[in-house]
Structure formats: C-alpha cells, structure tokens
C-alpha cells in the first residue's frame, strides 16, 4: 500500500458503503470524488459533503438518502445506534484528516501518489466480507430478519417461468391509454404537413418523404407497494418475487414498507441470491409495527410525486393491518386517487382485510378499484383473468 492509500482507502470504503445502499458509484465517480477533495480548499473540508453529493447522487432518491449515509460513515459518533460489529480495522474516517493527507501527499510531489494513476485503492476498492458489509448496511441490527431465511433464489424454474408468463399477461391486459399526443409512425393515418414540407426542401419542394403520424398510446405506469412487516413475513417473499416479475416485464417501480417506505426497484433488477440480503438491509433499520398510511403518504408526496397521473396504477400488497389512525389510510389513499392513479389492493387472506382502516377505505366509493386475494401463483392467474376479462370492480376471490 503506497502512502496515499490510506485516505484513498477511506474514500473507497465510503464508495463501497454508497454502493451497498444502491447508489451507482463506479470508478469514474470515485476518481471524481478524489479530484473534488483535491480541488477544494484545504481549510473547508466540510464542503466535500456538497461536492461529493453532486457526484455520487444521480436522482432524487439518492439525494434524500445521502445525509444519513454521509453522517454514518464520516461522523459515526453522531449517529445513534450505528455500531459496527465487524471488528475489522479501518482507515481513518476523520474527513478533515483524509483531505489533509491527500493534499499533503500530492504536495510532496510523489509520482506514485497521483490519484489518476492506477492505484489499487481506486481500481479495486476494498470490499469487506459479505457478513461485514451486511452488518454495516443493517446498522448493527440482528440478521434474524423477517425475510432473511426465505431466499428469492429458492424458486423452481417452472414456477419462475409461470410467474413471468402471468406477469406478461397482466402487463398486456392493462389497457393502453390513448393520449392527445401524436407520434411519427410509418403507417400513421395523419399527414404531418409541417414536417413533410420541411422534408421536401431537400428534394426541391417535391414531397417525396411524407411524414405520417398516429395517436400515441401509453402503457400504464405500475407502482407496487409491498408490505414486509412481521405480520406479512410468510407472504413477503412471494410478493417480492411477483413484484420483481413486473419490474422485468413492464419496468414497474417497487417499494417495500412497514414503518417506513423504501424503493427497491434497483435491487430487484438483478436476480441473485444477494437480492434478499439487500432488501433485508434496506428495511432492517425500521422499527416494529406497520404504518401503511404513513408509507402511502410518503409514497405520493416524495417518491412518486411527479409520476402519479391518470396513467398510474398503484398496487398495494398488504394484509391491511395499520398501526396509524384508521381514518388516515382512507385519506392517504384518497390523495393518491385524487391524482388520477387507480389503486388495487392485493391481500393474502381468504377474505378482504378486516382491519378498521381497510374497512373504512373499502367503504369509501371509488377509492380502491379492486380488492383481490393474492396468496399463490394460482391467485395471480385469477388476477390476470380478472384484469383481462375486465370483470366488475371490487371482485373478491
């Protein structure tokens, strides 16, 4: 390890933490972080927070997650309950010291200390053992999590194939909505006069290249909210597997919740044994209980604010037992509905959820489009049939 490796190790360790939490931080981002540290004045290393945030965050979700991750890594003493349990020795995490060391080493003019060079700390950030990484992601929480013992990888290939088929059938059956907008299409039925005239300029005014248009059809945008609380632990694995199928087939966005809401779409895109661990890690910091209305409110005010339109479909996969005030759930769902999104509630029980919150929500007309049972692939097949056959709303199986 060269002399510069200690501060670089710290930055690489930070980048590894960010990656663990779903931020897309590659070698290019790591190099940019080092460059930012070198360019910022030495007397104000705290400004690295803003600089690194701009480099490492790529969307609003990363942006919101950043302050917690930054504090947890660089100022662990300020973060309550964030004890590390791996016991491994780590490079210094004092931010000021890291920046100071970086500047000092570069000022010394050592050729080997150039950050752009092929430094092992940049090219191959130290990856901790799986156990260590997981423990860190969980903030020291117990690994006996509700989902942990149920691996997403334990499904049989024929089950997976059937699930994919069902998801595709449902995706097809979700009616595409006709929009007011038009799009270019070779076999369109309306002539785009402006573009045709424009294109005719290159042929001396002869319209040899007519441009045709057709109305644009938009596929609904699907949001899946999966309840992963204790009461749902026997069903969460099935629900996540189903949700993953919709991520693959129609680019759905998937959120998990019990006391808080977190998006796991990126984690579900890759089908590996570690997916379950990562989903566990995301939810491990949540305390007990189920706050459905709080999570739904968080969903429509923060995570999907700009995308909840008439074209959105929201599927809530939950047993409906809510620790919030019963009336709050109806209000939260009503606000989602007010944006035009249509809500389908999928529950694992034989009958519709008997909780007071759900009863109130179901009693309000026009709030929940359908309340259907989903406890197996057979149930999903029935859901596909119902959606395809466009049976009356609020069908219950």
């Amino acid at each position: 390890m060269n002399e510069l490796a200690r501060p670089l190790d710290s930055i690489a360790g930070f980048a590894a933490l960010l990656r663990d939490h779903g931020l897309k931080v590659g070698v290019a981002e790591q190099q940019a972080m080092v460059q930012a540290a070198l360019r910022l004045p030495l007397d104000r290393p705290a400004r690295l927070d803003a600089a690194w945030r701009a480099i490492a965050c790529h969307d609003a979700r990363d942006w919101q997650r950043w302050p917690d991750l930054f504090e947890r890594y660089w100022h662990p003493q300020r973060t309550r309950g964030a004890s590390r349990i791996s016991g491994q020795t780590r490079p210094s995490r004092a931010l000021q010291q890291v920046v100071h060391d970086l500047h000092e080493r570069l000022d010394a003019g050592s050729p080997s200390s150039r950050p752009a060079a092929s430094d092992t700390a940049l090219d191959a950030p130290p990856v901790e053992s799986d156990d260590g990484g997981l423990a860190r992601s969980q903030g020291g929480a117990s690994r006996t999590d509700a989902l942990h013992d149920r691996s997403l990888a334990q499904w049989l290939p024929q089950d997976l194939a059937q699930l994919e088929r069902l998801a595709e059938a449902i995706a097809q059956s979700l009616r595409r909505r006709l929009t007011r907008r038009w799009q270019d299409q070779t076999r369109g039925r309306r002539l785009d006069v402006r573009r045709t005239l424009r294109a005719s300029l290159r042929t001396g005014g002869l319209p040899l290249h007519p441009v045709w248009r057709t109305p644009r059809l938009e596929r609904p945008r699907l949001f899946v909210l999966v309840d992963v609380s204790r009461s749902m632990q026997t069903h969460a694995q099935l629900f996540l597997r189903i949700a993953r199928a919709f991520v693959t087939t129609m680019d759905a966005r998937v959120f998990v919740f019990h006391t808080r809401l977190a998006e796991v779409t990126a984690l579900l895109r890759s089908d590996s044994a570690s997916v379950q661990d990562k989903v566990n890690a995301v939810t491990a910091g949540f305390t007990g209980g189920t706050r459905i209305s709080t999570s739904v409110t968080d969903f429509h005010t923060v995570h999907a604010r700009a995308q909840l339109t008439r074209n959105a479909r929201v599927w809530v996969l939950s047993d409906g037992f809510d620790a919030d005030e019963p009336a709050q759930l109806s209000d939260a769902l009503a606000r989602v509905r007010a944006r035009g999104a249509r809500i389908t509630w999928l529950h694992p029980s034989e009958r519709p959820p008997a909780s007071q919150a759900m009863q109130l929500a179901l009693a309000r007309r026009g709030l929940i489009d359908r309340c259907l049972r989903l406890n197996s692939l057979q149930d999903l097949a029935k859901v596909a049939e119902l959606l395809h056959g466009r049976q009356p709303l609020r069908s219950e199986s």
Partner: protein, 301 residues
C-alpha cells in the same frame, strides 16, 4: 473564479444560492461536467442557468426540449433552400457547382447544441426539461455531453473550442437513463427556506414593502404544506408579491376575501382553488400571527 466569487456573482445576478449549490456549480466548472438539476416546477432551475451565464459574463444558449425533438431542431440542419438557390445560380454560370461545395459550414444551420459547441467564446448551455424529450434524443445527447463534440456525416466531427458549462433541468415526469445521469453532476433543488425566499423576493422586487414581503412569503411557505395539486414555487411567490405591490398594499390584508382575488397567482388548478377557500386562507393568516411563521424549512416534496 473561486467558489466564493461565483456565489457573489450569482448574488449580483439576482440569484441567491446556498453554499451547497454554489459548491456544486463551481465543481461542475472545475471538472467540466454537465450539471443535472431536478426539482419541482418553479423552484428556479431555469433561472439558475440564466443567472450563471450572467454571473460568468457568458452567452446563454438555450435548448427547450419537447416531445418529438430531433436532431434537426437541436443540433444542426442543412439549409436546403440555400443549397437549391446556389445550384440554380450556378446553372447560369460557366462553373458548375460541385457537391462538396454545397456541404460546407456556409450551408449549415446551427441549432442550439452545435451553436454552443462551436461558439468562439465560452458559453452556458441550458438543456431545459430534458424529461420531455424522447429517449432517442437522450441517447444522442450522450456524445455531446461526454466528449463535447457533434458528428456531422458530411463534414466530420465538430469539437468544442471551449467546453460549455452545461445545465440540464428535469421535472422528473420521466425517468432519465442511467447513462445520462452518470455523465452529470446532480443537484436536487428544493423549495427555498423562509429566510432565503425573503431575500430572493427582496432582491427581485426592491420596491415592495419589507413587511409585505415577509408576510407574503410566510403565507406561501405555509401554503406549501397544504396538500395541493400544484404547489406554488418561487416564481409564483414573485408573481404574487408583484401583484400585491401593484395593488399598493403595504401588508397582507386581514380580510381573506380581499386576498382571494390575488390568489390566482398562487393556485393554478380548480381543485386547489376549491381546497383553499376563504376559511382556509383565514386559518393560514391567523397561523402567521400565533404559531410563528414557518421558521423551519418546508418539507421536501
């Protein structure tokens, strides 16, 4: 230009920014990376690029994205009319025009991207509302943003003489590709805090009464906590205070009825107008006097 100087210049240009945004802007210039700014409508994303160009004394080149935006509207287009005219003119002369003569820079119409790339002076390129453009156009942008060059098949590759400072804005109505996001620095612009919003309004409308500005901004901050379809942004606040100032008001009227007519500046949908009736306006006004005005920053949305 140091970060502090940039922040000061932005202030002089009428854009009051916090330290984090100033650092990000400065870093984008240092690393020569595009900056992707997201946030709700009306928080000042487009104004940021305009202020940046003023602060740096550079020209602002703006590309407004929309559905169906293509290469001919964004980058370049051959001036077919002029080419045809040249052919006809040369027909009357002895020397016939060659094909190569027609595909030179003289016959090329520069659209915003090419104009920014081939500008003699450094400039600020604003690619506004990139989420409204199609995915195909987004893919085309990758070459421009990664290498600052545009390839014109008939001419070759045009490389930037000066790397433009690129600012992309998005309202988040469509997910942008990872490839585009990873080429950019990122900043999420939230609604300004009470103190910053007051400072911005004061700076923009120096003629308005101080008390009126404070009360109006506090009212808007409280209004943003309501569950509105269209949350009023900074632009709406400025419109509203401007309207109140034109009405020669020195402070907010106590009578909600008198305020209702001016709320058209803030509430832009029928549902919001219905939700914020005179009764609710009264509550919001009274809250101002009792609960101590929205000192805390508004919740991110």
């Amino acid at each position: 230009m140091t970060e502090a100087q940039l922040r000061e210049s932005l202030h002089r240009a009428g854009y009051i920014t916090d330290e984090a945004l100033a650092t990000t802007l400065w870093l984008a210039g240092e690393l020569q990376r595009p900056l992707l700014v997201e946030g709700d409508a009306g928080v000042g994303k487009t104004a940021l690029a305009a202020a940046l160009s003023t602060a740096r004394g550079q020209v602002l080149v703006r590309l407004q994205c929309h559905e169906g935006l293509d290469l001919s509207q964004a980058a370049y287009e051959w001036n077919y009319g002029r080419q045809l005219l040249a052919i006809r003119l040369h027909e009357t002369r002895a020397d016939r025009v060659q094909e190569a003569d027609l595909f030179t820079r003289d016959y090329l119409l520069e659209r915003p991207l090419l104009r920014a790339i081939s500008s003699e002076q450094p400039c600020v390129l604003l690619i506004d509302e990139i989420d409204r453009a199609d995915e195909a156009f987004e893919a085309f942008l990758l070459e421009v943003l990664a290498d600052y060059q545009i390839t014109v098949p008939e001419l070759g590759t045009v490389r930037a003489r000066h790397i433009p400072q690129v600012v992309l804005t998005s309202n988040g109505t469509r997910e942008l590709s990872d490839a585009l996001r990873r080429r950019c620095l990122y900043h999420y612009l939230e609604y300004p805090t009470l103190a910053r919003e007051i400072a911005i309004v004061r700076s923009t409308l120096p003629g308005a009464e101080g008390l009126l500005i404070e009360q109006a901004v506090a009212f808007v901050q409280r209004l943003r906590r309501e569950d509105l379809v269209k949350v009023p942004g900074l632009a709406e606040t400025l419109d509203w205070v401007r309207a109140l100032h034109r009405l020669a008001l020195r402070e907010l009227p106590d009578d909600p009825g008198a305020m209702m007519a001016t709320l058209a500046c803030l509430l832009k949908t029928r549902e919001d107008r219905f939700q914020v009736g005179p009764q609710r306006v009264r509550q919001l006004l009274e809250g101002r006097r009792t609960a101590g005005v929205a000192e805390a920053a508004p919740q991110p949305t």
